[in-house]
């Protein structure tokens, strides 16, 4: 063992430059791996972690303000009840801290005792002493609120901040309105004790969440007399979360998986290439009597001596690059960072980053040591028997470039591994570019989701004709929207949208299957269809907030990102028959070329509050910014991986063909000729890699990611021509840098030394 260790260390010292190159590769792959783990773990398990920490209830019920004893009596009668907490949620509260102030905050007045439904992540919980508030961590971070500082609340005056909270049933500020918590005791202390205070929000914890549906049925049955009742379940909260955070969470998780695959392929290819290059040295060891185990051990130890420090540096760099943006993202989602929970995945990732090159080096060495030492000594180091180039006409038809390509092609296994690595990285870069474009479009362009109306106006349906008369308005109609619950699975909420007449004038989400709705029919989003198993021809049954139930035949399935695709378009006549008081706005489609600003002014003159139709992630601009930061960090690492793979491939080619390069130089080839040779080698890798990358993105990653991210919607993730060209240019630049760098290194070696090499 000691001898093997000493030999491994000596081998590294002899090949210092190449060792450094291998170390850089392992460090880059480890960085990628760590970045993927940080992003994947943070986002993939963030909700569950947050729900556990916050003791998130199984059911959250919103209702019109009611005295607490009336609500308590109803909830107490529910089956399988473990605990509940009725509280008051007050909206549009004025708050201020430091230089910041807002008039639309949400205050939650919580009882003095009982289960909370939020996690106190810093400081302590509210006490009975009064004049205290808990502030959401995202708000505290955004405004720079400190523990113990003063927090002004309209009507209550200055309050002391005693803690920061996280609760995943709402996304954080600024994605949502600022939220804080005050104690009922504090309110009572200031305004006098109310014997039966009003509440409008109840948290319900069940003993066994498997009975959720039965509890919901019972809850609906016992909610008679309560108005505007809305139920949200844990799965519903997930939906709400997705609604605010967008589909990008799933996208990032998918990107992390791709990064892991790329890193694995690169590490294994690198390690195998190293052993392949040293076959003749293995032959010498075997010839002097070294055992197979000793040969494999030496190779493995050598790889380990490089991999351990490189993987450590890489993992640390990957964590540093993504941990900060990841934390910011999770804070926005009201979810805790992974903290020490990330240590184990990172340690496992580090072990993988060490084990893959070690095993990748030891296993081929073990196999190679099984060959005859004579065979290894004869040609193993230069060319494996099955890999001798047989091509003809390379030099005649393409000069030195063709020779370079042929040198690379002689190592078929490495060629394939490098092309696969570069192809994956290229596809990854293309995917990120396409994703960035998709995000921008979704963020800013409502048309991307099939929304054709540009404005909504808060006016009664009777004002429709007045709106139509405004110059610049092409079409206007009442748009009814209510949140319903599926009749058979009450935890599934459905956004029901209705127009009188043809809804496609205002909203035309792409039809996936079936046909557009006719009287008495519905179009349902793919997300809803998937959740409820709906197909064209089946029946959609849902309960409206009024308690009425509607049953409609499903005409078609549509792609929609709204509410994760849990939407249903139905005729207004059907909705109004069941619920004449369904709330509505007027949807306004402006004429081509018309100025929406002028139309908006005219609507204001009619007494309306006009609002622009928003893209899917419009409210999540800060979130998108964070995501772009993460994507950029991953893209930079990915670009470095491409560059490394190219440099390594070129350097290994030159290293293995030192004599060939030396012969060329002896025959009069200058640095330009060596560059041409290497350019041919690099092009032999880059061109197929670009083709593989484009095909992978177009036919595999893009569709898979779109499906993974939004099974409920058709998300176009095909890279545009400009993106493909930009990526190809980037790959070409990486190839040029690799060629120049390696050619410079090659030119430094003495021709005589190169000729003498074996």
């Amino acid at each position: 063992m000691r001898a093997a260790f000493a030999e491994a260390r000596h081998g590294l010292q002899l090949r210092l430059r190449r060792t450094l190159l291998s170390a850089i590769g392992i460090a880059l792959a480890s960085a990628m791996l760590a970045a993927a783990l940080v992003v994947g773990d943070g986002l993939g398990r963030g909700f569950d972690r947050a729900a556990r920490a916050a003791d998130l209830p199984d059911v959250i019920v919103h209702y019109q303000s009611q005295p607490v004893d009336k609500v308590d009596a109803r909830i107490s009668g529910l089956p399988d009840l473990a605990a509940f907490s009725a509280r008051l949620e007050v909206t549009d509260v004025g708050i201020g801290s430091g230089n910041h102030q807002r008039g639309d905050a949400v205050a939650e007045v919580v009882p003095g005792s009982g289960r909370r439904g939020y996690a106190v992540v810093a400081g302590r919980d509210l006490s009975a002493r009064g004049a205290e508030v808990l502030v959401e961590r995202s708000l505290a971070q955004s405004w720079g609120v400190r523990l113990g500082s003063s927090f002004y609340v309209d009507g209550l005056g200055p309050q002391r901040v005693v803690g920061f909270t996280e609760a995943p049933d709402n996304v954080g500020y600024p994605l949502a309105k600022p939220r804080f918590y005050v104690s009922r005791d504090a309110i009572d202390a200031r305004f006098g004790r109310e014997t039966n205070p009003n509440t409008n929000l109840a948290y319900i914890w069940l003993r066994d969440p498997r009975y959720l549906n039965e509890v919901l049925v019972q809850a609906r049955a016992s909610s008679f007399g309560l108005r505007n009742i809305r139920f949200a379940t844990r799965s519903g909260v997930r939906v709400l979360l997705d609604q605010a955070a967008g589909i990008v969470i799933d996208l990032l998780v998918a990107l992390s998986v791709i990064a892991l695959v790329t890193a694995g392929v690169m590490l294994a290819a690198s390690a195998r290439a190293e052993v392949q290059r040293r076959l003749s040295a293995i032959g010498v060891r075997r010839a002097v009597g070294a055992s197979r185990g000793y040969v494999a051990l030496t190779q493995g130890l050598e790889a380990m001596l490089v991999a351990v420090p490189a993987a450590t540096i890489g993992v640390a760099a990957g964590v540093l690059a993504t941990y900060g943006p990841g934390e910011r993202l999770l804070t926005l989602l009201n979810e805790p960072g992974p903290g020490s929970g990330l240590v184990l995945p990172l340690v496992l990732g580090w072990l993988a980053a060490v084990a893959i090159p070690v095993l990748g080096a030891a296993w081929p060495a073990w196999r190679a040591a099984d060959r005859s030492p004579v065979g290894l000594l004869r040609g193993g180091g230069e060319l494996a028997g099955g890999e001798r180039g047989r091509g003809r006409g390379g030099l005649g038809s393409g000069g030195l470039g063709a020779l370079g390509a042929r040198l690379v092609a002689a190592r078929r296994t490495r060629l394939v591994a490098t092309v696969v690595t570069l192809g994956l990285s290229t596809a990854f870069v293309l995917l990120m570019l396409a994703l960035a474009s998709a995000l921008s479009v979704l963020e800013t362009d409502p048309g991307a989701l099939g929304k054709r109306y540009t404005l909504t106006a808060s006016l009664p349906p009777a004002a429709t004709s007045q709106v139509r008369a405004i110059t610049g308005v092409q079409a206007a109609a009442p748009r009814y929207e209510v949140q319903a619950a599926d009749s058979f699975s009450l935890g599934e909420t459905i956004d029901v949208v209705a127009y009188p007449g043809d809804h496609t004038v205002f909203e035309a989400p792409p039809l996936v299957s079936g046909h557009r709705l006719r009287g008495g029919e519905a179009e349902v989003g793919a997300g809803l269809a998937s959740a409820l198993g709906l197909t064209p021809g089946s029946t959609l049954a849902f309960a409206l907030p009024s308690g009425a139930e509607l049953r409609l035949r499903v005409a078609g399935i549509v792609s929609s990102l709204d509410h994760d695709g849990r939407v249903a378009y139905i005729p207004a006549v059907a909705l109004l028959a069941a619920d004449p008081s369904a709330p509505s706005l007027i949807a306004v489609r402006t004429a081509p070329g018309a100025d929406p600003g002028r139309v908006s002014s005219a609507l204001t003159a009619l007494g309306a509050q006009p609002a622009e139709a928003a893209g899917a992630t419009a409210r999540g601009a800060p979130l998108v910014d964070v995501l772009r930061t993460i994507l950029r960090a991953v893209a930079i690492v990915d670009g470095l991986v491409c560059l490394y793979a190219l440099i390594q491939a070129c350097a290994l080619t030159v290293q293995e063909r030192r004599r060939t390069v030396a012969v060329l130089r002896a025959c009069g080839a200058g640095s330009q000729a060596v560059q041409r040779l290497l350019l041919g080698a690099a092009l032999a890798l880059v061109v197929p890699a670009a083709v593989v990358g484009i095909l992978l993105e177009r036919f595999l990653f893009g569709p898979a990611l779109a499906k993974l991210a939004a099974g409920y919607a058709t998300l176009p993730l095909d890279a545009s021509v400009a993106e493909v060209v930009a990526t190809a240019v980037g790959l070409g630049l990486a190839a040029a840098v690799a060629v120049l760098w390696v050619a410079r290194q090659a030119a430094r070696e003495s021709v005589v030394t190169g000729l003498a090499s074996s």
Partner: protein, 191 residues
Amino acid sequence: MLHADRLTKTVGEGRAARRVLDGVNLAIEADEVVAVLGRSGSGKSTLLHLLGGLDTPDSGEITLAGEPLTGRSARALARIRLRHVGFVFQQFQLIEELSGAENVLMPTRLPGAPGGGARRGAELIDELGLNAVADHLPHELSGGEQQRFAFARALVNGPQLVLADEPTGSLDAKNGAPCSSCFADSPAAQW
């Protein structure tokens, strides 16, 4: 045509340093064939490397066809090798991925090579009796065939100086003899 004046060269470093050339003077005229003889390790190969511009002397001057070799840049030395020098190595050093003919033509494809190389290459292959194996890869050739291809490659750009470092050293007597004669009757004299 080739003049070397007071050449010195030390190989190795530290304790292993050894002066293999110490004040070597040499003058070779055009069309002259010179054999350098000496014990193993006496510096024959080192001298050839210096004369061909593959290595640089510690001191002394070398002039080839009126052009000084000492103190020149790597690029200038490469150009001189391309136009004025042909090498035949002991192990022939044929490029394994190229056929025999491609190995011969390779120097004619390098940037800055003199014109007419392709024609000369074809003639050399023909004159050296290599047409039948011109498309064979080096490992498919006999030692004698490899040597003749190496010889053709050295001559293809019409060099004024051909340096052959033990060209028959790796061949048996049967294969080496014809090569020695072909070297003596080399077509280089025509160019």
